[in-house]
Amino acid sequence: MAEREQSLSLNVGKPGLIKGRSWPIHLALCLAMIIILFPLAYAALISTQTNAEVFRFQLTPGTGLSDHFDQVWNERNIGRFMWNSVVQAVLITVAKTVLSLLAGLAFVYFTFRGKWIVFFFVLITLMMPTEVMILALFRFVSDLGWKDSMAGLVVPFAASATGAFLFRQHFANLPRDLAEASQIDGATPLQFLFRILIPLSWNTIGALAVIQFVFVWNMYLWPVLIVSDQDKQVVQVGLQGLQGIETGLTFGPLMLAALLVSIPPILVFIALQKPFMSGFALGADK
């Protein structure tokens, strides 16, 4: 009994499902961790080695790191790609969060004619992945003259059914008295949204922000199609230039770039892990 209370206060959930000694579990988890970490650790090793050292299968750090960094950062200008991706990610995340908040507000706090049609109209888009219509979308956005522009990278992804439903669900679980009280105070819906709902929704907003940031940062197919100007390119596509076999592939710079590009989403994920877990994944136990 005492153990159970202690475990609850530690906030790691209730005692495990397997009874018995814990070292086999430690062993298994360590093994899994080594396997899962290996590709990244190996890439880190290679990123320091020149091609000659790679082909010798040297197991210690090599001598090429500063050269590689110079090549990746100055010649390939990967910082430029990262900046473009940051701008794209911030714009999409902010736009999607705001539009989803507004849609959630309309769905939960208003009654209006044709609501279920709108709901159905939004719901259906969940089974319409962009990839399926990517050729037509590509042609449409090209016709708008948005090739090689931030608008082409951002606007098609500025709204989503997922976000709208996420906030709709969250608002529907909030106490009803909040809306009543704020109406008695004479607040407009937007005041209600900004003063009451948003402060109560940071976990959900955080969860959506993590998902959106990682989604945009990792976006590949769409920028491949829509951006051809190297100055406007985003990170994942920017990596292509380093794999160019024709110019003689060096492994080190490619690995270094892959690692650099992976750092921001992992940092965002770790920094916002708490709201992510509580606002999204573990929403099952409200």
């Binding site: 499902l17 009874k19 507004l102 208003f110 969940l126 990839e131 037509a136 669900q169 590949y220």
Partner: protein, 452 residues
Amino acid sequence: MGIILSLLIAAVVGGVSFGYRTRRHAAFGAGLGLLGGSVILAAMGFCMFDAEAESTEAVLGVTLAAAFAWMFGAGSRAVLDQSGDGKAGGGFGDSEIRTGAYRLGWWWPWLLLSPTLIILVFFLYWPAIQTFRLSTKLTRLGAPRQAERCLGNFSELLVPNPFLVAALPLAAIGVMWGIGLWHRRANPDTWSFGVARTLRPFGIVFLLLALYFIFENENGGYRQIYLNTLIISVGTVALSMIFGLGLAYLSYQHIRGITVYRTLLIWPYAISPPIAGILFFMMFNATGGVVAAVASRWGIDLPDYTQNASLARFTIILASVWKLLGYNLLFFLAGLQTVPRDQIEAAALDGANAWQRFRRIVLPALGPIGFFLLITNLTYSFFDVYGTIDFLTKGAPAGATSVAIYELIRVGVDNGDLGRGAAQSVVLFLAVIGLTAWQFKQSEGRINYGGA
């Protein structure tokens, strides 16, 4: 003749999919089916039944009419069911609002919704319609001229035998339906029930096999692409879900440092598919990679994965599983919170061993989250795998790793053949719709639209 037949079939399909409990239901459903079928056929100008059209095109026309009839029937049924009782879809009937609704001008909610709706209309609905329109044309990227091809882009993907194209999928659906009926009708105490229950999950195999045989095999036909997609997606989904569940089960234990383990196991979620491709490109590289080096030290002469079809597919599966593992772990962990703990303790007292407790209590409780993961992992292995393939194999060797999305970009963008690419998009679209329909059928009202 063809038109009448397809409209007749559309009416029957509409009635069946809408529900035929009363005569009025059946008539209404048939009307919906007729409407759905004639909408799509009229949109294409009934071209598939022209004298000069191939017979495969006529078969496709009938199928198309039936599919749209089904969409109209089943869609209306879903809408009616949902608006009938509010709780099924989280409720979008007005019954959900008891108190606290704003009573302002009618335009307020529309104003709030308009940005979302405008973007969905222009960047999802419009391209979707355009995809269907492009798929019937012969048109090149950037060229203004186009020619009508009716369903020619589609019949190119299929074997040139209209009988097979019609009969195989129908037979597979018939077998699936028959097994389902057998399962429902059989007496639960007899062996026949056991056989039916065992056979039931295999129904889908018949459908997948039938599709394999209707895709064109000659000179670079679509059958190869279908097979690649099937192997890579089934391999990825199966492995990533099994390992994800195992890891989640391990990291749900109450031991010291578990949060550190969890964080270190989940992070590959944040890695992109292209970078997963780059990391595995390095490890499996024939000249500089660690895998080949270790294998040769052990006396195994591993072929270059870019030259060997099975190894190339396996490498892609491995990279995708590695990338998906953290995601699955995260959601299975969430799912494990819902496992009824008192039942496990009671079962343990009754002498059930760890495997029995896992099989009988934990697995059933994980059903809904497992189903959600099945769908998201399938989506990943259909679409997001593009980046991994582009960095690992680029479809090599000889197209053995070119999955549907990769092929559709190769045809539509690299070759600039927009019409043929759009036809492949429609095929992929149908696969997604089929999957979603299956998802709706499986979850039957207990889906949570907020969770995805």
